[in-house]
């Protein structure tokens, strides 16, 4: 029924992942970086689901489910952190946050 | 099974002590070590019966299947000797702490007992990996003992000691891994390793890995610089543990994990090892002559003595090996006595410089008597315990090379020089102005010193049981390690 070769999914998710990486490198706004991470996570999700479907194995989808759980928790905590950082330095620019060295 | 009990008594005691407070801590520790000592005598009686011993003393359970690591503990003559030494000294070390106030004594004694556990573990394990675990475990309690209860400058000194020994252990671990992958049995069991030698081309490499680890622990020249500082800084009971038992770990390991495992490697590098040992004997003795700090003087004398033991072991002949074993026992007893005497003096006078002491014999004649007995024991007067060991060791070295024996024999002269010089400056003469009051021995001090004095004579006059105990294993090690 599925006429799309799995390779395409691989390529797609890899490409998406790389876009996410590029975004992380490119932007300085912490919120955007967080979003790019979501993008990367989704690329992985897509890959997992495609494998699960093609192999007829439900484990992959269960895994994706848990990734979503983690992603949701991560975003919640991450954003809370960002808000509290913003409250202190009035910016979300990651280059300002360079106190953690040596 | 009996061996396991021997191993567990200190561990359990170490945990239980944590729940006690005040004076009961000391009494409980003392009680535990005495129980352990009595039990050792029982084990010895079982050991004499060869048939029963086999089934009762050895345990070999698979622990980790891959890599193949077994929980393999057993007892043979040499192990039993070392266990006996530890268990003999432990009550004395605990007793030495009576009448002394100590902060957080329950933690202190817990660490001491934990150390005891680890030391026994080192002596009874017959699996390389298990042995390594105990070897490293022994380092932890003594580190904290020196760090928390030590003297001036303890942090730097303890760190130096810790890193020194750890570096050596790392090499040994590396050696063990190398050994594991390069023997065709893929096992670290002592019984396998002694039968199934690694290709002699690789033994030289392993020799250095192990030798440096042991040379640091023993310590041999030039790996000794941690020792004088550590001895003078650590609390007395720590020093007694270190010098009395922990050093013996290195010597014991030479005999257990070096000679029979890689005989060709040992045979190849024995000249260098003996040269280091013999030079060390003279070098440390000469330094000891001019030392003014009491504890440092004894530390250097200890380096000289253990250098002689190691030299005898590396002579690779029967009397050297057997003499080494006997001398380990003797040196353990003597060095503990010597350091305890030093502690009594320093504790009473608050002074460790021998030039500002003197005339103590006038005030404390009983202490002076015990001290001179211990001093004579450590300069190996006949009929004291270290004479026979020293005689056999020197003869062992003599058989290897007569010039080396003459050089090492200088310890006979130099030992007398520094010990008598020390005794004269500290105990004899008229009272120094720094020494005005010197209380004679308290009951616990007298008990410790009297025990040591008795032991010095007992093992000097009746050395035969000890020699017979270690003879089979010494013969075995000699046969395995004898390379044409």
């Amino acid at each position: 029924m599925q006429a799309v070769p799995q390779n395409w999914y691989l390529l797609l998710s890899t490409f998406m992942f790389c876009i996410g990486v590029m975004g992380v490198l490119l932007r300085r706004n912490a919120i955007i970086i967080l979003m790019c991470i979501e993008l990367m996570l989704n690329a992985v999700n897509l890959l997992l689901v495609s494998f699960s479907s093609y192999a007829g194995n439900a484990e992959g989808q269960v895994f994706v489910f848990f990734i979503m759980v983690v992603a949701a928790a991560e975003v919640a905590v991450g954003l809370a952190l960002l808000v509290s950082i913003y409250r202190n330095v009035a910016s979300t620019d990651i280059d300002i946050l360079s106190k953690m060295k040596w | 099974m009996l061996t396991l009990i021997l191993l567990l008594i200190p561990l359990i005691a170490s945990i239980l002590v944590l729940f006690l407070k005040g004076e009961s801590v000391k009494w409980f520790s003392f009680f535990a070590t005495i129980v352990q000592l009595l039990f050792t005598f029982y084990v010895y009686s079982v050991f004499q019966n060869k048939e029963a011993a086999k089934s009762l003393l050895a345990i070999n359970i698979e622990w980790i299947s891959s890599p193949k690591i077994n929980f393999n503990i057993a007892l043979d003559g040499m192990s039993l000797l070392m266990v006996f030494l530890s268990n003999l000294l432990m009550p004395l070390i605990v007793l030495a702490g009576f009448n002394r106030t100590q902060e957080r004594s329950h933690i202190f004694y817990s660490l001491v007992l934990l150390m005891h556990f680890a030391l026994i573990g080192v002596f009874v394990s017959f699996d390389g990996f298990l042995y390594y675990i105990f070897w490293e475990l022994a380092l932890i309690p003594i580190y904290f003992i020196s760090l928390n209860w030590g003297g001036v400058n303890r942090i730097t000194v303890t760190l130096k000691f810790f890193i020194y020994t750890l570096a050596g252990s790392l090499l040994m671990l590396f050696g063990f891994l190398f050994l594991y992958w390069n023997t065709n049995l893929h096992s670290l069991s002592w019984f396998d390793l002694t039968v199934n030698h690694i290709c002699s081309c690789k033994q030289g490499f392993i020799f250095w890995m192990f030798f440096i680890a042991y040379a640091i622990k023993i310590p041999l020249i030039p790996f000794h610089t941690w020792q004088p500082d550590t001895y003078s800084t650590a609390p007395t009971q720590g020093t007694m543990l270190l010098s009395g038992i922990m050093l013996k770990m290195g010597l014991y390991s030479l005999l257990r994990w070096l000679l029979p495992i890689i005989p060709n490697g040992v045979a190849e590098y024995t000249p260098i090892a003996i040269a280091l040992c013999v030079i060390g004997v003279v070098y440390a003795s000469v330094i000891a002559i001019m030392q003014t700090d009491l504890k440092k003087l004894f530390a250097y004398s200890s380096i000289a003595h253990v250098g002689l033991i190691a030299g005898g072991i590396f002579a690779l002949n029967m009397q050297g090996i057997q003499g080494g074993m006997v001398q380990m026992l003797a040196h353990g007893i003597n060095v503990v006595g010597v350091f305890y005497c030093a502690d009594i003096i320093i504790n009473r006078t608050g002074n460790s410089n021998i030039n500002s002491l003197g005339g103590i014999r006038l005030l404390a004649p009983r202490f002076a008597t015990y001290f001179i007995i211990i001093v004579l024991g450590s300069i190996a007067l006949p009929l004291t315990n270290s004479f026979i060991g020293e005689f056999m060791l020197l003869f062992g070295i003599f058989e290897y090379n007569s010039w080396a024996a003459i050089l090492a024999g200088l310890t006979v002269i130099l030992g007398a020089v520094y010990m008598l010089r020390m005794y004269q400056k500290v105990m004899l003469g008229d009272l120094n102005e720094n020494v005005t009051v010197f209380e004679d021995l308290k009951w616990n001090e007298e008990l410790v010193l009297a025990t040591i004095a008795v032991l010095i004579f007992v093992f000097g006059i009746f050395p035969k049981p000890i020699l017979e105990l270690v003879e089979p294993i010494a013969t075995e090690i000699f046969k395995i390690s004898f390379v044409k």
Partner: protein
Amino acid sequence: MVISQFIFYTLAAFTLLSSLFVVFSKNPIYSVLWLIVCFFTIAGHFVMLNAQFLAVVHIIVYSGAIMVLFLFTVMLLNLNKETEPHKPTLLKFGAVIAGGALFLIVIAAMRSGMPAPYVAPQMSEVGYVKNIGMKLYKDYTLPFEVASILFLSAMIGSVVLAKKERS
């Protein structure tokens, strides 16, 4: 079966484009919005892969919860085009090149591990709610419950973090 291929390509194009927009939009608000689009297309992919349950959950969790959170935060912090910090141009080039290089190298690395170009399609029903439900509640009960604890702690954590500190 051209239709499914057509749908895939369209969705894929949308996915990639929207994610590129996420990265390159100047205004954070637009990034968020494009991300929502992206998530929807991914949900579409899930449907295509017969993973209906996940598709629905994806929309609810990501587009519904997470993205709202993002949007809310962006607006709360009043981030806009003017406040948006920028990297030097050289670094931007570097980032693009690094991303491209990573893509190439990952593809190259996967080359040997790629499945055959055409895999016999499997009529799978694993993505149905019933199957996933059985899996989750029978085989993965413990992780499922642990996940709820994770959520709880995340919730408490974010409340604690976001709460205004009294000084």
